[in-house]
Structure formats: C-alpha cells, structure tokens
C-alpha cells in the first residue's frame, strides 16, 4: 500500500514536472519569438522624493539608452541593479557623476546598451529621506524570459496539478 502511494507520488511528480517544463519552454519560446532591430531611446530620468519619472522603462535587448538626469529636490542616486552603474544626481545641475567599473566621471548623458533581458530595478543610492530605501524604478528589458517562463510554470502547476488529480488520484470513499 505504501509502495503504491510512493509510486503514485513519484508519477505525480513526473507529470507535474513534465507539464511545468513544457509550459516553461513554450513560455521562453514565445518570449524569444520574433526579431527586433535595435533602437535608441533618449530618456530623461527625473528623481524626487521618493519617485523616479519614468517609473518604468521598457526596452528590448540590444537597444541603446541615452539617459539624462535631473533631481527635483535633494541629491539622489540612480543605482541600476546588475549593471555596475551608480549615478549621483545633484539638484539644479545638468551634470551628473557616473560611476562605472570603478571609474567616476562627470557627464551630461549616460549611454547604456541593454544587453541582458529581464527586470532590473533602479534605486536611489544617496540617502534622501525617510523612504529612501524604497525609492525604486524599473528597467524591463524584453524579451523577459523569466516572467514568461515563471508565468507559464504557474499555469502549468495549475493544469498539471488538476490533470494529475483527475488521472492519478484514486477514487476514495463514496460521498
């Protein structure tokens, strides 16, 4: 009896993992479908307590971002996760201090090629007030494999789980 239950669990796990894998692959495939000619985006990022404008930047992998910055109140930062970029934005100044790969330079524009897909948060890196740790924006670089694959997996879990229950779970006591 225990061996049967174990076998049932094992098969259930295989079914579930299989469904999950197939849907994840479909999700990634759908995300990667189509070609995209790289584009250039001129973006003016405004930072203020406790927001970035634009709050979300959406581009495609291979696109070039030409970022200009402005701070509306106090000194803010623009730390881009996963990109080794930390910009200090003084108020009332066109020039910003951009720190990349250990080097710091004063510039009016930061040029960045979106080479990796996914969601990357940009955060204020200069303490600016009470909610400073939560001052964030989002750079979403398509195709977003992680989102597509995880969303497909969530649907796969639902469908695979219900299918497994329908096909494998024994009928118990009558109602």
């Amino acid at each position: 009896m225990q061996a049967q239950a174990g076998e049932s669990r094992r098969r259930g796990a295989i079914w579930g993992m299989g469904a999950l894998g197939i849907l994840a692959i479909i999700g990634i495939g759908a995300a990667g479908a189509g070609t995209h000619a790289p584009r250039e985006h001129e973006i003016r990022v405004t930072a203020g307590r406790y927001f970035f404008e634009p709050a979300v930047i959406r581009v495609q992998r291979g696109d070039t971002l030409m970022l200009r910055f402005a701070a509306t109140d106090v000194v803010h930062g623009f730390y881009l996760e996963g990109h080794d970029l930390d910009v200090t934005i003084p108020p009332l100044s066109r020039q910003v201090e951009a720190k990349r790969a250990g080097a710091t330079e004063l510039v009016e524009e930061v040029v960045l090629v979106a080479e990796r897909s996914g969601k990357f948060r940009y955060r204020c890196s200069k303490p600016c007030g009470a909610m400073h740790p939560f001052m964030v924006g989002e750079l979403v670089v398509g195709p977003n494999h992680l989102f597509r694959a995880s969303a497909a997996s969530a649907i796969g879990l639902l469908l695979g789980g219900l299918a497994w229950v329908r096909l494998r779970s024994p009928e118990e006591r009558p109602g």
Binding site: A130, M131, F147, L157, L162
Partner: protein
C-alpha cells in the same frame, strides 16, 4: 492529518532522541532564558537608539536591526525551519513573566493536595502573582490579533522609517504584555493579543519543526499531566495549551516547559517535512490567512513597486497629506477585509455549488479553501522580504557599529557604504519562491478538499475555483516581481 497522534512517524526525526546533549540543554531551567536575556538587553539598547538616536531610519540600529535583519530571519529562517522558536526567546513578555512568577530560574511548586494557602493564585501545581484571570472565551481567538496587525500595518511606513515610532511600538508592546500579565494568566498576551504572534501562529504550521508527544499511549496513561499542571521541574504550559494532545504548531511558543516537566521524557522536538499541517480551525484563522496575503500584495506594490504616488500617500508622517493617506488606508482595508477574503470565499462557495454538495457546510468549504494560503502566504512573505535584505542588508553592518548614529565605530564597520548584494537575482529568487508556494498551496488545498468532499470528482470540482484563483494570485505577484 491534524489528529492528536504522536509526531514520531517514518518521515520525522526525533531530535532529542538523536542528540542527547541537545535534550540535556533543553531540559535546563536556564534555557531558553540564556538566549532571551541577551535579546532583552539588545532590545533595550535598540529601543533607546530609537528614542534618542539619529532620526535617519537607515542609520538607526532599531530600524535597521528590527525591520531588515530580525524580520528577514523571522519570516525566512525561523518560521519555516524553527516554528515559533522566536516566541520562546522573545524579550517582550519577559518582565510580565517575572512579575507573575517572581522567579527568574526557579519554579513555585505547590501541591494542591496540601492546601492552597500562600501568596498568589494556584494554577495546577504552580502559584502565580497578579490577578491571574481567565481570558474571555469569546476573545480566545485570532480576531484581536488580526485587528491589531491590520492597524499596525496601516501605519507600516511610519514604523519602518521612523526610529521614534518603532521605539514607541516596541515599547508599547512590552508595556501591554506586562500589563496583561498582571491581569490575566500566563502568556495570555502572546496567545491572544500579540500582533506578531498571530501570523507566527498561522505560518508555523508550515514549519519543519514541531514539539509533540512521542507516544500518545504514554500520555494517556500519565496521571500527573505535568505538561498542563506544572511540577517542581517547570511551569504548566504558559501558552494555555495541553501539550500532550497538541496536533498543530499554532499555539506552541516553544518555551520548552513541557519538555522539562514531563516525568516520562515523552515530549520532544521533531523535524518533519515542510508544509505538514494545513487544517484551519476557525474563520479567525482563515481571515488571518486572507489578511496576510492581502498585506503581502499591498506591501509588494507600495514598497517594492515603482509608484511614487502610492509611497507618498502611505508616508503620512512626512507628507502629512491626510486625504491621500485616507485613500491609501481605505484601499488597504478594503483589500484586506473585502477583496481578498471576498474572492477566496466566493471561490469556495462556487466550488461547493459546482460539486453539488449542499450537505458540506459553507464554513468548512471556506476553511478548506483558505488552507491553500497557509504555505502560499508564507512563501509570498519570504519573496517580499528577499529584496529588502539583498538591497539593504549592508545597513546592518554600519548600524551595528553605530546603533545610535552618534559617530561610534564599535566593530570597525560603521563606514561600510551601502552595498547591495546580488540585487539583480531578486526576481529569480522571488519567482522560485512563488512557484514553490503555489505548488504547496495547491497540495494543501487539494488534500483538505478531498477530505471534505469525499469523492475525487466532487473534491476536484469543489477545489477547482480556489486553485484557479490561487494561480491568478501567483500570476499577479509574478507580474509585480518579474514582469
């Protein structure tokens, strides 16, 4: 699943049998006090930092240690792997314990057969100072904890960012726990009032650690019932539980008194598979699950999301825009008390209709549906907490050396700059956690519904709407975290 059977099965490990030295440690009267007292000193230090230290949240020891380090350890480490072990060492009720017991290490033993003279109130074989009243039966549930947590959650931005507000909140909890200890018996505050205890109660069900009796027959034959009544070796269960019949983690604060008092050595700690308990016993518990999910979603939007307007609305202490805050608070309460419970209750109702089982009580169907949110909610809270510690964990090193923000450098780490640690991996961690939570939630909900509805087909129909809603919730959170 939740029958009062012993925990010793093939899939559990009896820690005290396996490690006799660990058993020896847990049976000492000075354990876990030896952990709780240093924590009390640390808490007093950090509360002082909140009161008189720098008002800059991310440089103040109280804000940084409580809301980054403690919170993450609690929700992502202690609850999943050590149940309510925090409650066992929590410094908040220590003063109240002492006022009740008038003992630090010792036990006031009084055999009830030899008369009840002496100071204080006799409960079982122990005597306690204070009024030792019984908590009203109609309040012996999670409703007050639900309300208290929602109230605190409404002002979470103030708590998270203002050292003074955090100090007043922690200090207020100590004062409340002490006051309640003077009026009501044992750990009434922890059991029925502590806002943190409410969600620890719910999510400790998913923990891999459980304190249980080894053998129900030993307990059945036991005449002393020392775990309940106390003995010379220890106090009767301060959590007002009957430890030998305990089948869920919810109300066990892991104070370990029953391990000390059991004359048969029958109480032990067991390691078990995760998500082992799933049954909710009342609508108060179901609403705790709804409330916690709603708050996790709301916090994910407000704190982790890019919407500055929402942050400004929630930040009433700084922005002082009461109209915007009113809208924010109204939305939060509507989500927590209306939208999330409404959707999950409607899904359970719809499932019951689809299964064509009017004999199944609507309340039971609602509880079976809400059981999906025990593992799922815990994993959502961990997913929410991951970026807080990855992005802001380095503040702990700086504030540890200078908790008051007065320019100290106790451990040479005060000047460590803000250094996020692999913050770009956050969406990957979050996606993985959400999927594990969804899987565990589906399993919990299915098993509960199968037991409730009996037949497979009816159970499938009964559970399907909740399963779809759970998947939709997971998709919403995946969109927030990774999309």
């Amino acid at each position: 699943m939740n029958a009062p059977a012993p925990c010793a099965t093939t899939r559990t490990v009896d820690l005290l049998a396996r490690w006799p030295r660990f058993a020896w440690l847990l049976r000492r009267r000075w354990f876990p006090l030896v952990v709780a007292v240093p924590l009390l000193v640390l808490t007093a230090t950090f509360v002082s930092a909140g009161l008189v230290g720098t008002p800059v949240g991310n440089r103040n020891g109280l804000v940084v240690f409580v809301w980054i380090l403690w919170w993450f350890l609690l929700i992502a480490v202690l609850v999943p792997f050590a149940a309510r072990s925090w409650c066992g060492v929590c410094p908040v009720p220590l003063l109240g314990d002492w006022l009740q017991r008038r003992r630090v290490l010792g036990v006031t033993f009084a055999d009830p057969r030899q008369g009840k003279e002496g100071p204080g109130t006799q409960i079982g074989r122990n005597r306690y100072r204070g009024a030792s009243r019984r908590w009203p039966r109609r309040l012996s549930n999670l409703w007050l904890q639900n309300l208290g947590f929602l109230l605190l959650a409404t002002f979470s931005v103030v708590l998270l960012t203002s050292p003074l507000a955090s100090a007043l909140a922690v200090g207020g909890m100590v004062a409340a726990a002490t006051g309640v200890a003077l009026l009501y018996r044992q750990r009434t505050f922890c059991r029925f009032l502590c806002p943190v205890g409410g969600f620890l109660s719910l999510y400790s069900m998913s923990s891999t650690l459980a304190l249980r009796a080894r053998s129900s027959s030993v307990c059945g034959d036991c005449k002393e019932k020392s775990c309940l009544a106390g003995s010379e070796q220890g106090w009767g269960c301060p959590w007002l539980e009957y430890p030998s019949r305990m089948a869920r983690n919810n109300a066990c604060g892991l104070c370990l008194e029953c391990v000390k008092t059991c004359p048969h050595g029958n109480m032990s700690l067991f390691v078990r598979p995760p998500f082992a308990e799933r049954r909710l016993e009342g609508l108060d518990e179901a609403f705790k699950a709804f409330l916690m999910l709603a708050l996790a979603i709301a916090y994910s939007v407000v704190y982790l999301g890019p919407w500055g307007g929402l942050k400004a609305a929630a930040n009433v202490a700084e922005a002082v825009d009461w109209r915007a805050f009113g809208l924010y608070a109204g939305g939060l309460w509507a989500l927590a008390l209306g939208v999330v419970p409404g959707l999950y209750l409607a899904a359970a109702w719809l499932g019951r209709r689809l299964a064509r089982t009017p004999q199944v009580p609507a309340r039971a169907a609602a509880l079976a549906g809400a059981s999906t949110l025990v593992p799922f909610g815990l994993l959502v809270w961990i997913a929410f907490s991951v970026p807080l510690v990855l992005a802001n964990g380095s503040y702990v090193l700086a504030a540890g050396s200078d908790p008051f923000g007065w320019g100290w450098n106790l451990f040479g780490t005060a000047a460590i700059p803000w250094t996020p640690v692999v913050p770009h991996w956050t969406p990957w961690f979050q996606a993985g956690l959400l999927l594990v939570g969804q899987g565990a939630g589906l399993r919990a909900g299915w098993l509960e519904n199968r037991e409730l509805y009996g037949g497979r087909r009816r159970a499938l129909l009964g559970f399907a709407p909740t399963a779809v809603l759970l998947a939709a919730t997971a998709l919403l959170l995946l969109a927030l975290y990774t999309g």
